[in-house]
Amino acid sequence: MTFLALSPLQTVLLALLTTGLVVALYFLKLRHRRVLISSSILWLKVLDERQAHSLWEKLRKIISIIVAVTITLLIALSLARPEIESLTGKTERIVIVLDTSPTMTTQTADGRTRWQHAMDRAENLLDGGGPTTEFRVVDTSGVTSSAFTTDRNEARRLIEQMSPRSAEPQFPKVDGRDSRVYFVSDGVALHGVPSFVRRVSVFERAQNVGITAFEIRSIPSTPLGYEAYLEVQNYGNPAEVAITLSAPGGQRLSRSVRLAKGEIFKDAFDLSRFTGGGIRATIQSKDDALPLDDVAFAYLPIKRKTRTLLVTRGNNNLETLLKLDNYVELLKIDPANYRESSNIDAYIFDRFAPSTPPSRPALILGAPNAGWLRTSNGIVQKPEITTWSEDHPIMQFVSVHDVSIERAAQIDATNLTVVAASKQTPLILVSEKPRWVMLTFDLDSSDFAFHVGFPVFIENVLAWFSREQLALRRSPGVVEVPLANAQVRTIDGKTVPASQQLGKTIFEAAEPGLYVATQGENRVHVAVNLANRSFSDVNQSVFKDDRAAAGQRYWLRRELWFYMLLGAVVLIGVEWFTYHRRITL
């Protein structure tokens, strides 16, 4: 037995003092009332018989003082906060880390989820600790991290508030030197666990078929043509899988495939019949244990014609190219007749530039002189394209390495994006605000217009100017959107709390879904999908069995002083009851 509040010497002194005090008070009790009786013959006979024949009568005199001393000792010693390790456990710290990775939502054979089993295990750990044990509850998603507390109810409340999240889990920073750390997990998503951590497994094998990849991509050969790429993998027994792609307009593609154990289904779906908007891919299979990876989202840009004004003194190649584009409504005027119009989506200025910048995006061919454009510093003869960026949207599927250029203007590209350049001068420049694209050479002085990538380039530029973009692909968790001060909504129109950081908008996407970030006229779609093989493979656990590293269970749930005071109260009650019935003296 140890004492938390007093030293052993102080405790002994306290016990002796209280015992002495009670004994002294016992003998200082009030004198008995004197009562005269006619004769004590019969009384003495009765008393002698009772004292002679009853052990209880012999003991009764000292029972009261024993009870009184016991009561005061219980109260006095409770002040010292005694602790008996075998009954209450020693004072220690326990950290319970709960795995909140997506795989914890996997259903088990009993119809519950691994997460529900994990909560039970965590409750067992809470129950197992002694009354002085301090608990800390942490999750792997970084949302919950409590301080150490002896209040089990508070710890329980925190556990009940936790839930599995689709974000990438991360083992929290915990100190194993002064505390015991338990990790309640299925061992699937988190592998890098420190060695001092005691694992409590909730792993149980399960059937799962999941979408491991889903995206919409454009078809290079077809203007505004898109296809959906889908990848489905079976992580359980052979299963029949029903695949459905659906759009808000009612368009629907369905397919049923049979997948063997571990087999991957990969295919591209033609979306030419889809008008655009959010595309939802779902799969259905028997005994699927993880619903999170049975759905995925993407965004298909809405198809509409771009009203384009070509300002040129004459460029047959370009004019023909634009006329043949089904998604371009072409208007052509001479530079002398140029006036800005409000119903134009994009301008193409061929060797001409207006004195004021247009209100709509523009493709400028050549390097005309205009106040809002960079001034030419000279002419570069036969520049060779040495660098170009394939990452920029206008350069997607465009190859310019073999384009021959007769001459190009020398331009200072400071604060502009260069997507293609020679050693001497930039050749293709991009301005974000105002949005324009400039070729520092005209089409007549190069063979770019005769290259196979030129129509694609024009298509990319017009798409970048006015058409919707494909959705950004992100995983659940914290999502960054390259759009400042944007308002984020779900595809259903519900607002999602977002914050701003370094010109980006950040929001929490707990579940897979399609989100829209809007800032003025700019709009960015974000497709958040689990689509992660390490999550879908719910049987890839590092736990070889599901044995739990259970904590030691103790008899008492509170500190010993509580039971001592309770005992004192009970003894006072018993003493009061027996004294008033003259059972004790």
Partner: protein, 296 residues
């Protein structure tokens, strides 16, 4: 009626007492003529027997009718009627001064009533006050006119001292006494035991009648809590805690004590009546004693 008489009982009660007579189971020889039958043959009114006439007999008692029928002189014998010595032993130890009314007051009234009955029947009434010996003694009284003397004696009787009935009775009886009816009025709280005391009276061949007086406080003590019980005679105290079980044990012990006294009396054919001080005194004398065949 004197003040002493008034304090004991009223005239109405006295008139009722005159119709009563004390019964003695034995026949004792008296000294003076009176109304109580004896074994002697004498000049009483009650016919007793016949015997043949012998010279010197009083021929006034010859049965002349028998002589005419049998031609023999036959003498009629009559019972001699004499007085009965009645000894009232009244316990006046300190224990009798207990209860409300006190046992001594109750005993005084009973003794006075019985003495009056005896005097009314021309019996020889002796009153003895005893405790740890003979504390007082009233010489034999005869005739109703002596009742006031008895009243005075009883009224002057005071309680005190402890009890030693055996020595008291032995002292009294060893003096030359005539056998008679001994009425012992006491609570029988005697450290030396009641049997040996009553054995003394039996040894002297008295006809014994026991009146056992107990107070209500002794039968069912109204005690509770931590007490020091002090014996009124010895003044010795004892600290005890009165519990329900202890009270029950005391009541059982009291009942056992009374039963032992009653069984002793039954064994030796002694008259026994037990009464409590809260029992109506007149009812005790007029009904209970008659039912107990002590009075008729």
């Amino acid at each position: 009626m004197s003040t002493a008489t008034l304090s004991l009982f009223d005239d109405e009660f006295l008139k009722k007492l005159e119709y009563l007579n004390i019964i003695s189971k034995r026949l004792f020889a008296g000294q003076l003529r009176a109304e109580r039958r004896t074994r002697k043959r004498g000049t009483g009114l009650e016919f007793a027997d016949y015997r043949a006439y012998v010279a010197g007999d009083d021929f006034r008692h010859l049965d002349w009718k028998a002589y005419l029928r049998l031609n023999r002189l036959i003498l009629k014998l009559f019972e001699e009627e004499e007085d009965l010595p009645i000894y009232f032993f009244v316990d006046s130890s300190q224990s009798m001064n207990y209860g409300s009314p006190s046992k001594l007051d109750y005993a005084r009234r009973v003794a006075a009533a019985l003495a009056y009955i005896g005097l009314a029947n021309l019996d020889r009434v002796n009153i003895v006050s005893f405790g740890n010996g003979i504390k007082g003694e009233l010489p034999p009284q005869r005739g109703k006119g002596r009742i006031f003397k008895i009243f005075r004696f009883l009224t002057d009787m005071t309680a005190g001292g402890d009890t030693n009935a055996k020595e008291s009775f032995k002292t009294y009886c060893t003096e030359t006494r005539r056998r008679g009816l001994a009425v012992v009025i006491s609570d029988f709280f005697d450290q030396h035991g009641f049997q040996t005391a009553l054995d003394v009276l039996r040894h002297f061949r008295h006809d014994i009648f026991i009146l056992h007086i107990a107070s209500h406080e002794e039968i069912d003590p109204p005690l509770k809590g931590e007490l020091q019980l002090v014996d009124s005679e010895s003044q010795v105290g004892r600290e005890i805690t009165i519990t329900p079980s202890l009270l029950a044990a005391y009541r059982a012990e009291f009942a056992r004590y009374c039963e032992s006294l009653e069984s002793y009396c039954g064994k030796y054919q002694l008259g026994y009546v037990r009464t409590a001080t809260d029992f109506p005194f007149e009812e005790l004398v007029l009904k209970v004693f008659r039912q107990g065949r002590f009075l008729k």
